[in-house]
């Protein structure tokens, strides 16, 4: 890797003849602060480029090997921090696969509803930021408004706007609040309205379309070989969605479509996200219809789930249960498991290795962003300088997840 800014010797004080070496990022507004692209330009077009990530590598996997399994939740929260709930659910599912337990039906619907809401906030953020980077500031503000609604709902449910740490192995931290269903209905209605506004504002906009259509094209073969998943892969016309292909929770019982694009360009990626927003909204609707108002949310096995605080403070059994789970951590059987679910950016996989103790021996998260960003070089090589921003924006690279 070359130094941040290289010393030019006096001979080349005047701009060098091409190829010209241009360094974008990491502290560049379009690079989300965590990516650096070193480009070799001839005129406007990019001859070669080197995408450098890792400016947000926070040692996620190492930290996970220090605490208990439950203490991993805050860390996964901060992996994909645009849709933390999806990470929560994904990790909880992984641990439950390891334990061989399934959560009660009510909890499954609850998880799905929250997860889809998180997906909506993810796509809203991505498309909004994308529009903003192309100069369309208003849609960004509108979409952030919609995201605020989701976050208020999340705060009502979990107590935190962004990093919830709400998932638990064998359930959720709390059952749904009384007003959850009404709030969710209202939020989804509002957001569908916002999406219509945004569509009307953007999709007739010549500049917007010209900057996206046919830009950052990726063929399906390339995308598959690059290990792309999620919206970016679907934009290339490959209808691979974990929720459909390998249904988990209750996704096989809800009706939704997997929108796919044709061209695999930035515009398709944008539109796929828009379409998925609508799908997610309908999934949320179906979930809150199917979700029972009463009934257990957590599994009953006291070796997995924490007791209610009343019991902890009043009965010795509760105290012991709390003590064992908090101090020693719940024990996952020795072995390994790879559990996968549909994250905001595609297949979010967790590869857990347990030695039977209360602490993870190895916890590997399969970050969709990492592989998507791995394809950026192939996407922008040969493209024009100005196409980097929409292409990169449409990949929705999340630093925390890509670099971990």
């Amino acid at each position: 890797m070359e130094p941040i800014d290289q010393e030019l010797d006096p001979a080349e004080i005047e701009l060098p003849a091409e190829p010209m070496l241009l360094n974008v990022g990491p502290a560049h507004p379009a690079m989300h602060g965590t990516v650096r692209i070193v480009m070799e330009l001839s005129g406007e077009s990019i001859e070669r480029c080197d995408v450098q990530v890792g400016y947000l590598h926070r040692g996620f996997e190492k930290m996970c090997e220090r605490g208990t399994w439950t203490q991993v939740f805050p860390y996964v929260d901060r992996c994909n921090y645009v849709s933390p709930m999806l990470n929560n659910v994904g990790f909880a599912l992984a641990c439950e696969k390891m334990l061989g337990i399934t959560v009660p039906e009510r909890c499954q619907w609850y998880r799905m509803a929250l997860g889809e809401l998180a997906r909506m906030s993810d796509h809203l953020t991505c498309d909004g930021a994308m529009a903003m980077e192309l100069g369309a500031f208003t849609p960004f503000l509108w979409m952030i408004k919609g995201r605020e609604m989701i976050w208020d709902l999340m705060e009502e449910e979990t107590g935190a706007r962004l990093t919830h740490s709400f998932g638990r192995v064998g359930g959720m931290a709390h059952p749904p609040t009384a007003g959850f269903k009404e709030n969710a209905k209202a939020v989804t209605t509002h957001i569908l309205g916002i999406i219509e506004e945004v569509e009307r504002l953007l999709l007739g906009n010549r500049i917007f379309l010209d900057r996206l259509e046919g830009v950052g094209v990726v063929s399906a073969e390339d995308a598959i070989s690059l290990g792309w998943t999620g919206p970016c892969l679907r934009a290339c016309g490959v209808a691979y969605d974990v929720r459909k292909s390998h249904p988990y929770l209750r996704y096989d019982e809800v009706e939704f479509e997997v929108p796919v694009g044709q061209a695999g360009d930035s515009f398709d990626r944008f539109m796929v996200r828009i379409a998925e927003l609508k799908q997610s909204a309908s999934i949320v609707r179906q979930c809150i219809e199917r979700m029972a108002d009463t009934g257990p949310v957590n599994v009953t096995d006291p070796r997995v789930i924490l007791p209610p605080k009343e019991e902890v403070y009043s009965t010795i059994e509760g105290t012991i249960q709390h003590f064992k789970i908090v101090m020693e951590g719940l024990k996952l059987p020795a072995g390994e498991v790879y559990a996968y679910s549909e994250g905001g950016n595609g297949e979010m996989g967790f590869y857990l290795v347990s030695d039977g103790s209360g602490t993870p021996y190895r916890l590997r998260i399969r970050p969709p962003c990492f592989y998507v960003t791995g394809g950026l070089e192939r996407v922008i090589t040969g493209a024009m300088m100005a196409d980097v921003v929409p292409s990169f924006g449409s990949l929705n690279m999340i630093g925390g997840e890509c670099d971990r």
Binding site: Y313, T315, E317, T319
Partner: protein, 524 residues
């Protein structure tokens, strides 16, 4: 060898074994509270109930019980096998025992566990046993149900002072009588007994007595729950923060095997726990030894002293080297110490032989104390045998005093802190360099004191009174400027420009092997 089946595992046993003992020998654990391998069988906790298959052709011993039928909503008569306590049931060849595999046994255990927790206070947050408490472990393994009793639990005295070392909490007590049996059988001082019956019973000290025999802390050690707590350890640390090193007690010549529990964050030693060794201390340790960890922090020499004044360790080392570089061999002597490990003594002896070329070797140690015929030895030095075998012709401390008195010694390099007898004569030695862990006569009279690491701060090998060589691990990092004595010797020899053949501890031990092998014979 005869064997029986326990949950389809073949378990060999020796004649006279009980089921639980044979199982434990091969590492199969049957849950138990009252049974302890070192104590007699009481069979009063009923946790170890197992189902015994009847011999072929014989009917099983069945009991008629009333079981609640949820559908019929009434009690219905049922038959269930008579369960046997594994701690009392003698193993027999071809016996078929069902422990985990028998749902009757597991249900019985769950019930027993629930009964034991019936009146248990919600004390885990303030209980020193929490983290190593049988009640907690077995709740998770055998009960994991919620509380059903709605009544107020029975309240019993808390914080009863049994003696100078032990505090008793009757509410936490499950009256397994381990402590009673220990005092009776091992300590030979039956000072504890059980009062009342049913859920009111509790452990009491005999009227007019205190729990003050030399093995009181063992009662806390055998207590499977938090009923008996040691004053020494009470509210000092949480056990899940502690780490353990496998060490040897240096309190006396017995050399009891022990665990040294320390906090890796603060490098503080909090307690000793006995480590099972059938050949040496079985399962026990004495109070003296258990409380010996206090000496690690008390009266230590932590910085080098030159002429009684604190000094940089390098400076002090250089001064010491200057003293010995031109020391006349005939008036030079080294003093070995039975307080220190073979490594330290061997390094020093080597220095005397190769470095200082002197034949004057003395040895010292702590003054003898009380002994008994259980564990404690009158000789309070952990390594007397080691030193004796290492340097058979080392002269005793008395002669050192004599020689010093007659002014025969000018340069003395002394290991160890304590002296067995009056040591004022040491003041007559012109150049006395002490490698001392603690303050004492040597530190008092020495011209130069080099701070040595204590037993808990260095690996060491000790030879106990039976002539068994036992290695002790390092628990914590040396305090202050102190470092293992053999390291000091090594540096001293470098400073003297007479470097030894060894650099690392491993090499030192290798160099020591023949000597210690001669000293010890076989290692357990």
């Amino acid at each position: 060898m005869p064997s029986f089946k326990l949950d389809d595992i073949d378990i060999p046993f020796e004649p006279g074994d009980t089921v639980i003992r044979a199982a434990q020998r091969v590492g199969v654990d049957i849950p138990h509270y009252c049974w302890h391998p070192g104590l007699s069988v009481a069979a009063n906790c009923r946790m170890c109930l197992v189902e015994i298959e009847p011999p072929p052709g014989r009917p099983a011993m069945m009991l008629d019980v009333l079981a609640w039928d949820a559908e019929k909503h009434e009690y219905v008569p049922q038959k269930k096998p008579k369960l046997q306590p594994a701690c009392q049931f003698a193993a027999a060849d071809g016996l078929v025992v069902k422990s985990q595999s028998s749902q009757h046994a597991t249900r019985a255990r769950s019930a027993v566990q629930e009964l034991l927790l019936l009146n248990h206070p919600v004390d885990c947050p303030i209980c020193d046993q929490a983290g190593e408490c049988r009640l907690q472990d077995y709740w998770l393994e055998h009960q994991h149900t919620k509380k059903r009793m709605k009544d107020e639990p029975v309240h019993k005295p808390k914080g009863v002072v049994f003696g100078p070392t032990i505090v008793y909490d009757a509410e936490r007590c499950i009256v397994c009588t381990r402590c009673v049996r220990f005092c009776d059988e091992v300590a030979k001082d039956p000072v504890l007994s059980v009062r009342e019956r049913g859920n009111l019973n509790e452990i009491v000290v005999s009227p007019g007595r205190k729990l003050d025999h030399p093995y009181t802390l063992m009662t806390e050690y055998v207590c499977p729950v938090g009923a008996l707590t040691a004053v020494d350890f009470r509210f000092k640390a949480r056990v899940w923060f502690l780490r353990s090193a496998r060490t040897v007690c240096v309190g006396c010549a017995t050399g009891c095997n022990s665990f040294t529990d320390f906090d890796p964050r603060t490098q503080e030693v909090y307690r000793y726990r006995p480590r099972e060794n059938k050949a040496v201390n079985q399962y026990w340790m004495c109070d003296e030894g258990m409380l010996d960890h206090r000496r690690i922090g008390q009266g230590r020499v932590l910085h080098a002293l030159v002429g009684g004044k604190p000094s940089q360790r390098d400076a002090a080392l250089a001064r010491a080297a200057d003293l010995f570089v031109s020391a006349p061999p005939e008036t030079t002597a080294v003093v070995l110490s039975a307080e220190h490990s073979l490594e330290d003594n061997f390094a020093l002896l080597e220095l005397a032989r190769d470095g200082l070329k002197t034949q004057n070797v003395y040895f010292t140690g702590r003054a003898p104390g009380q002994g008994d015929n259980v564990l404690r030895d009158a000789d309070k030095n952990p390594n007397t045998n080691g030193v004796k075998k290492l340097a058979p012709n080392a002269k005793p401390f008395a002669e050192l005093v004599k020689a010093a008195d007659e002014g025969k010694l000018t340069h003395v390099l002394a290991l160890g802190s304590q002296a067995p007898a009056d040591a004022t004569a040491l003041g007559k030695i012109k150049h006395l360099v002490a490698l001392a862990t603690h303050e004492g006569p040597f530190q008092a009279h020495a011209a130069i004191v080099l701070p040595a690491a204590s037993w808990a701060e260095a690996e060491g090998t000790f030879v106990n009174r039976q002539g068994t060589t036992q290695e002790s691990e390092r628990a914590v990092t040396p305090r202050g400027d102190s470092r293992p004595a053999f390291r000091w010797v090594h540096e001293l020899r470098l400073a003297l420009d007479r470097p030894p053949a060894w650099k690392k501890l491993g090499e030192l031990r290798a160099a020591m092997q023949p000597a210690s092998a001669a000293a010890t014979g076989a290692r357990p």
